[in-house]
């Protein structure tokens, strides 16, 4: 179980290698990475703000809950903050389990809770100025299925 909040980029492949290095008990490794998407071609910068201290504890709490619900060998959450450009990596989660279904479900669970329970906020700066990204009702609704 690990959580990292950082401004620097990460190497998705290297993170997954490190997660399974030296282990023979993992049968399934699911990962997700979120990228800065530019829908209109106007996005210049996506600024990620967070609440240092609470961010780490909120992410750890979400991980602990995932380990209670599924049989997991390991989990990892890496989330960046600061200014990011279109196409850059924002974050990743990985869930390792003996079995595929648990790994998929746990990764999905981590993402759903991370989106609306970890203290991050996004601000988009485009050609016409800057705007905070609103939370979606569907993100809150997604928590109900767990």
């Amino acid at each position: 179980m690990a959580v990292r909040v950082q401004s620097e980029d990460f190497d998705l492949g290297a993170e997954l290698e490190a997660l399974r290095a030296g282990r023979t008990d993992i049968g399934a490794l699911v990962s997700f990475s979120g990228l800065v998407r530019d829908d209109t071609g106007d996005l210049k910068v996506l600024e990620l703000e967070h609440y240092p201290g609470m961010t780490e504890s909120a992410l750890t709490e979400i991980e602990v809950e995932a380990h209670k619900r599924w049989e997991l060998n390991a989990t990892l959450i890496v989330h960046r903050f600061g200014p990011l450009k279109p196409g850059e990596q924002i974050m990743m989660v990985a869930a390792a389990s003996p079995h595929r279904k648990a790994a998929f479900e746990a990764a999905d669970f981590l993402m759903d809770f991370l989106k609306s329970r970890a203290p991050f906020w996004k601000k988009e700066t485009g050609v016409d100025g800057a705007e905070w990204v609103d939370a979606k009702d569907t993100d809150e609704d997604a928590l109900k299925r767990w």
Binding site: G34, E49, Y51, G53, M54, S57, A58, H79, I90, M91, M111, L114, K115, S116, R117, A118, P119, F120, W121, K122, K123, W132, V133, D134, A135, D139, E140
Partner: protein, 83 residues
């Protein structure tokens, strides 16, 4: 009592500072919000629609009914948008 209050995202922008120490006798988070709104327009603007403001008490998500007794750090911010 004195407590540290921190603000994030557009709540921080509307209030104009990321962090401040507030002197108050308010008993709950909601009472403090009402007190701040009466003090200055920038607070009134930031807290005009509480349905889009979230509260953390000592870095744990909470709500406007939470008591302030013993609290060290209070945070106000919009609904979170991680991932």
């Amino acid at each position: 009592m004195k407590l540290d209050v921190v603000y994030f995202a557009w709540v921080r922008e509307r209030i104009g500072v990321p962090r401040e120490t507030v002197e108050t006798d308010a008993l709950s988070v909601g009472d403090l919000v009402a007190e701040l709104r009466a003090r200055e327009d920038r607070y009134d603007l930031a807290f005009s629609d509480l349905s889009v403001v979230r509260v953390a008490v000592d870095q744990t998500l909470s709500d406007f009914d939470a008591p302030l007794k013993g609290v060290r750090e209070l945070a106000f911010f919009p609904p979170m948008t991680g991932g």
